[in-house]
Symmetry: D2
Amino acid sequence: MPSRRYILTLSCPDRVGIVAAVSGFLAEHKGWIVEAHHHADPEAQRFFMRQEVLTDSLPFGMDEFRRRFSAIAAKFGMDWRLSDTGVLKRVVIMVGKQTHCLDDLLYRWRSGEMPFELKAVISNHEDSREFVEFHRVRFEHVAMEAGQREEGLGKIAVLLEKHAPDVIVLARFMQILPARICAKYPYRILNIHHSFLPSFVGAKPYHQAYARGVKFVGATCHYVTAQLDDGPIIEQDAFRTNHAHSIEELMRIGRDIEKTVLARGLRYHLEDRVLMNGSKTVVFA
Amino acid sequence: MPSRRYILTLSCPDRVGIVAAVSGFLAEHKGWIVEAHHHADPEAQRFFMRQEVLTDSLPFGMDEFRRRFSAIAAKFGMDWRLSDTGVLKRVVIMVGKQTHCLDDLLYRWRSGEMPFELKAVISNHEDSREFVEFHRVRFEHVAMEAGQREEGLGKIAVLLEKHAPDVIVLARFMQILPARICAKYPYRILNIHHSFLPSFVGAKPYHQAYARGVKFVGATCHYVTAQLDDGPIIEQDAFRTNHAHSIEELMRIGRDIEKTVLARGLRYHLEDRVLMNGSKTVVFA
Amino acid sequence: MPSRRYILTLSCPDRVGIVAAVSGFLAEHKGWIVEAHHHADPEAQRFFMRQEVLTDSLPFGMDEFRRRFSAIAAKFGMDWRLSDTGVLKRVVIMVGKQTHCLDDLLYRWRSGEMPFELKAVISNHEDSREFVEFHRVRFEHVAMEAGQREEGLGKIAVLLEKHAPDVIVLARFMQILPARICAKYPYRILNIHHSFLPSFVGAKPYHQAYARGVKFVGATCHYVTAQLDDGPIIEQDAFRTNHAHSIEELMRIGRDIEKTVLARGLRYHLEDRVLMNGSKTVVFA
Amino acid sequence: MPSRRYILTLSCPDRVGIVAAVSGFLAEHKGWIVEAHHHADPEAQRFFMRQEVLTDSLPFGMDEFRRRFSAIAAKFGMDWRLSDTGVLKRVVIMVGKQTHCLDDLLYRWRSGEMPFELKAVISNHEDSREFVEFHRVRFEHVAMEAGQREEGLGKIAVLLEKHAPDVIVLARFMQILPARICAKYPYRILNIHHSFLPSFVGAKPYHQAYARGVKFVGATCHYVTAQLDDGPIIEQDAFRTNHAHSIEELMRIGRDIEKTVLARGLRYHLEDRVLMNGSKTVVFA
């Protein structure tokens, strides 16, 4: 078991003295830093930072940390957040007929590799009910067939309201979420798209890739925004292909890439490693 | 020194008996096959083959091989070609201000790693003249500045006519060839595009990739067609990037990928490993 | 569902006429070849071939195929094998305390991605019983603690005898099989070793890799022979690491590589894509 | 042209307050940090840091920087170094008959991609003289044939003494340097070994890899110590291979990996990105 830590993430206009102020504050209170990352974006003239500090090394808790730090934050105009690795994030997974990403995340969750609180799995197919319920996890079926889509989306909105997730994972959900839901969970909905974005936006990307004759095929984990497949990219990967691969083989090999790319993206998010820089991400991996 | 070989490449509608007919023909004449590749495309219902046969193992030369094989080719409706590794292909390299791909190809050529007959290097910049001429290779400068472009393109057409290349390599030439030149050398003009096509077509792909915040950046070697960056893809590769890479660093790392992708694509072409399947390539690597 | 196929694999001393004989035989009987691979090893002067033929295209079944083909096989001195994709291979998986490879294979099996007949899971730990039995698969616990090892190995030998597996998969079993068991299933026991062999043979390879400070860490799927971690390599892969990765992180990232490397190796084996060439493999992937 | 920078690298026993002290010092003098890296090794209980500071942002030069910083360094028991990107490092390249790494480094040097002061190229073969001298770089031939080896090594020692290199690059030199030379330039001699160390130490690694039947082949850039191929690893990479690759093809593909691995390792070294942690490196890439 790794020790409990506070994770401080922040961004602010770049100037002299930010690191000195933050590390001075931590040092003053004997905060033991286990991991630290900085990034200065010279174009945006913005500075980004993530600090992992042993909870036990500090003489105070979250509230006092927040109270004391807010003076520094105000001085530098910081967007900042403090989280506690001892408090698991609440997750809802949404899935369609293809369950490889769901099954992969369930393995990582039940084995303890990836700690989070799994509130529910929502699907428009019954296929994964038995497997999800084996894990003693709530399975919610929402019909999304033609004629039921509007009602289904309403039901999803209610379920999300109820489970109040910190993160929503679209693990090959294959339904487009309406703008009103996207807007409600900014940078808190993760999607896995089965192409190397911005190549092959939209439907059937493996078919598109096959038709174009590309020599690598990839997958992309990104935040969902109202514009399809256009959200900030968190993680990508790709595999070499050639003329001998059929579309079915691209799909088979692609599943392995989708699983690992989504799992990496989700881990970065759960561990507060992803900071926003305009429409791009800073990922302190 | 590898032994001299005949390379037979062909494609035809798929049916029973193609391999039997071709390998029967070769076996009958004691042809020693050193390398063989097949591909059947079930969608296009087309069959592709490449055979490398030791020249010395056959009792006849190219002309007789062609004469005898044409009966089989006619029976199966083959598109086919026979080449001789003992006859070097004629190459013209065209280059702009950035010379990393040119310099890399010159290394492979002078070291004997990649055997071809280098007829000329054409450039709209004088920068690489000294280095090219050190290799005792003809350097042709063609002015392409504003107002000189049309004249320059005419001069290029004449130079190509004169050097009669089997292959034209656009090694970061950065000028768009007119349709009339593209049409004259079908599947014989190779370009290196510094993005992972179909992502980031056109100008300044590294800037586009930086702006989109992708996590991998790539390069593509493709045949040039009249439509920009849309020709059949021969080879691609990519490298992992992150928020910390500036555009300059993407360019620096990208150069290494561009060099190897172009060199691999050119090698495949020179060794007759690339067959056309509609707008896609079959690469028997 | 892909169509049923016969898979013919063979190796023999290299000479003129092998392909002609085999493809002539298939063509004569209207055999429709869906996939074909050849390899000639000029050092060993040995030839290797794999042919996938549509069962329905042939006028006879396995026995008649075997009977008729044996004349050709005898003429060329072939080691050969004919298998039928309609007959699933019998698999026994053996696993220790770490279940990531087991869980991954169970996903591929239950989803139909990787078709085989799963006879039993054998483990010296009870941890995975519930998950295995959820799949309605037989779980066999064999105690292997100090003092029980000899008895345990005896019980394993009996279980293997009973389940008569075509393939035994050591999915992080962490116990060394005795030579008598290894010898009984030549090239039929697959192991996943969590290092990039031949680096870091034996115990705790991630610790060894960490101590040496390598910049890539890998995994190897190989056939088990009597000599530890020295059997023929079927498949490998690796991931980039750096000074910031702790041993625990190497283990975490390594699990993903182990899973895919073992799954790929097993798929190659199940699909008869692995041929032996002395102590090396020819993998027609 | 990137702006001139001071690079501060240090390591010391880990404790609270190091970052605060260093960043406080820099902030106090208005030092503008362009890039910063930290690493805490919990096993060695040691802390590592690299800071890149704009020279122009500081009110003093190197000497004054050193004088003022030495108080902090003493307090924390730091091993530390300050360098100036405006002062190019002195490099001597040593090469054997194979010149791909030399030619690659010469490209990077003459194009300005990799700035350093190239004092001389030393070789026991005349082959690369013409190409080196084209670059107006001093070429020193040292005979190393049987009977001349001792004398040759003496001559090399004298040449190194004369050129006083900051870094010596063994770019496929293929001769073992005696312990007395290794000891004189600790962590200042870089070698490229054409295998994925610790696999295939010593002579003919591609032959060893071919014989073992591995599925990836790699290259390693490491510091030279008295023990063959056992020095601290700076950078590695690898490429996928299979049964179809001959030893000659492994060598050909390997050259591209060797070039990029050595170039990356050398760049890390020239930019003071490599810190020593016992027998391992911390590379702030």
